[in-house]
């Protein structure tokens, strides 16, 4: 939404366009402003969050399956020794002494056979330790000092059933959900605006025929078609948003048609016609700027609808493919693991709901701002 500019060289008095008024009203609406901030933060996290996160979104931590969300670092102090002992056992080492020095473990180990220096790999491969090293080996190679640093990691949102970091996954899922939301909305808006404007502007029989088609399409159980498409043609990211977009354009077409019909009857359009302004001129200068308001509002309200639809498909197991993920996928996994690991549901749900909430509030705010007669 930009303020219309004028190219008058010496402008003595600045007018306030309806867009200016609408912007002021929007910024005066606290719920809408707060929502814009929330949405901005979520979008930013989704875009740069995965880059900043120390965990790749598909990295599996086998030692940290379903660990709860926590601000404290893993491993927990009481986890370290048992884990170390378990690893030593697997490496067939006997621990003679165990000592924690700062963030490292120093242990005297012995074995019945000669200790292979590669034994340290057992420790390095574990998610708990890193930089394991054997020093001070005995002459017979059957004892030595094993030193390993504790590998501290944070799982602020916990991990999922495969031991992947929920925070990074939530951010990545945000990318997917928001992208699908925006792309599908763009598809729906493009089809809807074009169809609606054509129908409304041409009028007459063409209009009636085109609207009849919309009526028929309305009575189709579209969601079932989407499911069919997705099931039969594979879970394709592109296909998905085309399908969703193709479903959601009907409302837009109706809105734009109604708006076009209203504007076409407005006297300022008739005045332009009487002045000999061409069709393109009328559409560009009069119809588009005046249709923009409702379209923008509807767009803001359509994005959450699409995101919801995507998560609905994901919930049914028809969403994006592993290891990619979306909020819907995460939520459906969370719902399955609700007992015992509630964080798996809570965090993606918070992100999804706040996004939808924010978008709804922004949409409502925009509507009030652009069409102030209800205040």
């Amino acid at each position: 939404m930009t303020v219309s500019t004028s190219d008058v060289p010496h402008a003595p008095q600045k007018g306030r366009s309806l867009w200016d008024d609408a912007r002021d009203r929007l910024f005066a609406n606290r719920a809408a402003v707060a929502s814009m901030i929330v949405l901005g933060v979520i979008a930013l996290l989704s875009i740069i969050g995965p880059m900043l996160s120390p965990h790749p979104f598909d990295k599996v931590y086998r030692d940290y399956v379903k660990v709860p969300a926590s601000l404290q670092a893993y491993p927990r102090p009481d986890q370290v020794q048992p884990a170390f002992e378990a690893l030593a056992k697997r490496a067939r080492l006997t621990i003679e002494s165990y000592d924690r020095v700062g963030d490292s473990i120093v242990a005297e180990v012995s074995s019945r056979r000669a200790i292979d220096p590669r034994t340290t790999r057992y420790f390095d491969r574990s998610d708990l330790f890193k930089d394991a090293a054997l020093t001070d080996m005995a002459e017979d190679q059957r004892a030595g000092r094993l030193r390993a640093d504790i590998n501290f990691v944070h799982f602020y949102f916990g991990t999922d059933a495969n031991g992947r970091d929920m925070m990074t996954r939530t951010f990545i899922a945000g990318r997917v959900s928001l992208t699908i939301g925006l792309l599908a909305t763009a598809v729906a808006i493009s089809i809807g605006v074009l169809y609606g404007a054509t129908s409304g502007y041409l009028g007459g029989r063409v209009d009636r025929l085109m609207m009849r088609v919309v009526d028929i399409l309305y009575s189709l159980p579209f969601i079932f078609f989407v499911i069919m498409l997705v099931v039969f043609f594979g879970r394709n990211f592109v296909l998905m948003f085309i399908a969703v977009g193709a479903v959601e354009w009907l409302d837009m077409a109706r809105i734009v048609r109604g708006q076009t019909l209203t504007i076409k009857r407005q006297e300022y359009v008739q005045a332009a016609e009487a002045m000999g302004v061409s069709d393109t001129g009328i559409v560009r200068r009069h119809i588009i700027p005046n249709t923009l308001g409702p379209v923008v509002v509807y767009m803001t309200l359509l994005v959450p609808k699409v995101i919801l639809l995507e998560s609905f498909l994901s919930f049914l197991g028809l969403g994006v493919q592993e290891p990619m993920t979306s909020w819907g996928v995460l939520i459906s996994e969370g719902a399955r693991n609700l007992q015992g690991s509630a964080w798996m549901l809570i965090f993606p749900s918070i992100f999804l709901t706040s996004t939808l909430f924010a978008l709804n509030f922004i949409g409502d705010g925009l509507r009030d701002a652009l069409d102030p007669k209800d205040r």
Partner: protein, 307 residues
């Protein structure tokens, strides 16, 4: 009136024909078939199966065959539930879905309508803001989030309600699915009612009613509400469609043997007849419901005349 209804029903035939055609060919051009199992079947068995289900015939012949049987209201045998015909499956599942959907719709209308009217009468007051915030929440939180949480709290922790199953439609089994299904619709109905009620309360004829000393009840209920309910009535059509969609989730989560669940199973198992049967039945249902809604609208608004 009768002529109008007949006309509408006749007008639905092309729509249904279109639906049958689109879904038939959409399924058939899709890769994979009903018998492509993980463990391939023997060639002989496959051949026999294809023969039984007419899959060996040319596509257009299959199409005509299917059209013919649908015209006789026979949706054919199921490919996946091989002992059942689609009609038998629907006979069990459709009543369950209808009961679920209608109960949720009534709940949504009563609760949503009441909330909307209350909010409109207290416009821009705390009550209004609370109701509207709750309504926004209701629209925003997906039912597949609500359902597990409700199950966990009321079913598992408190143990008040069963966590799933239909149990022949016993009251306690119905509560959770119906509430889950109705919540978003309650929210939408509340928002709609509030909006149209505010407009109605400001309209000139309500001003007339107030100017003529009618009681608040008469003004609000007799003069404002009857007009304000009209947009809600028009919303019933889309609401029914939304409930059908919602029922897919709810039936899956709560393990209710309704038509929505069959659809997902059918689609995943390439059960051609089951998927198409569901689509056709659902479409008929939506069309019929829209007709009822239009008639209801005409009943409420004398300006609408059908002839």
């Amino acid at each position: 009136m009768t002529r109008y209804v007949l006309g509408r029903l006749l007008g639905a035939i092309p729509t249904i024909f279109l639906i049958v055609t689109i879904s038939f060919f959409l399924i058939r051009i899709a890769p994979g078939g009903p018998f492509d199992l993980e463990r391939p079947l023997e060639a002989k068995v496959m051949e026999n199966l294809n023969k039984i289900y007419h899959l060996d015939e040319p596509l257009w012949q299959q199409y005509l065959l299917y059209l013919k049987s649908v015209a006789q209201l026979d949706f054919g045998p199921s490919f996946y539930f091989r002992d059942f015909t689609i009609n038998e499956l629907f006979a069990q599942s459709l009543p369950i879905s209808i009961q679920l959907g209608l109960t949720a719709l009534c709940l949504a209308l009563v609760v949503g309508g009441t909330l909307g009217v209350v909010a409109a009468l207290r416009q821009n007051q705390p009550t209004d803001y609370t109701v509207m915030a709750a309504a926004t929440l209701g629209v925003t939180i997906p039912n597949f989030v609500v359902a597990p949480i409700l199950t966990l709290v009321l079913g598992v922790w408190l143990g008040w309600l069963p966590v799933g199953g239909w149990n022949g439609g016993a009251f306690v089994n119905v509560i959770l699915p119906v509430v889950t299904l109705a919540l978003p619709q309650i929210a939408v109905v509340a928002r709609l009612t509030r909006g149209s009620m505010i407009e109605a309360l400001r309209s000139n004829h309500v001003r007339t009613a107030r100017a003529y000393g009618l009681s608040t009840y008469m003004v609000v209920v007799v003069h404002a509400l009857r007009g304000a309910i009209l947009p809600v009535v028009s919303y019933l059509g889309p609401a029914a469609a939304a409930l059908l969609t919602g029922s897919v989730v709810v039936e899956t989560i709560f393990g209710i043997p309704g038509i929505g669940r069959y659809f997902v199973q059918g689609a995943l198992n390439r059960d051609y007849t089951l998927v198409m049967g569901t689509v056709v039945v659902v479409a008929c249902f939506v069309i019929l419901f829209n007709l009822i809604v239009d008639l209801l609208y005409a009943l409420l608004d004398p300006r609408v005349r059908y002839d």
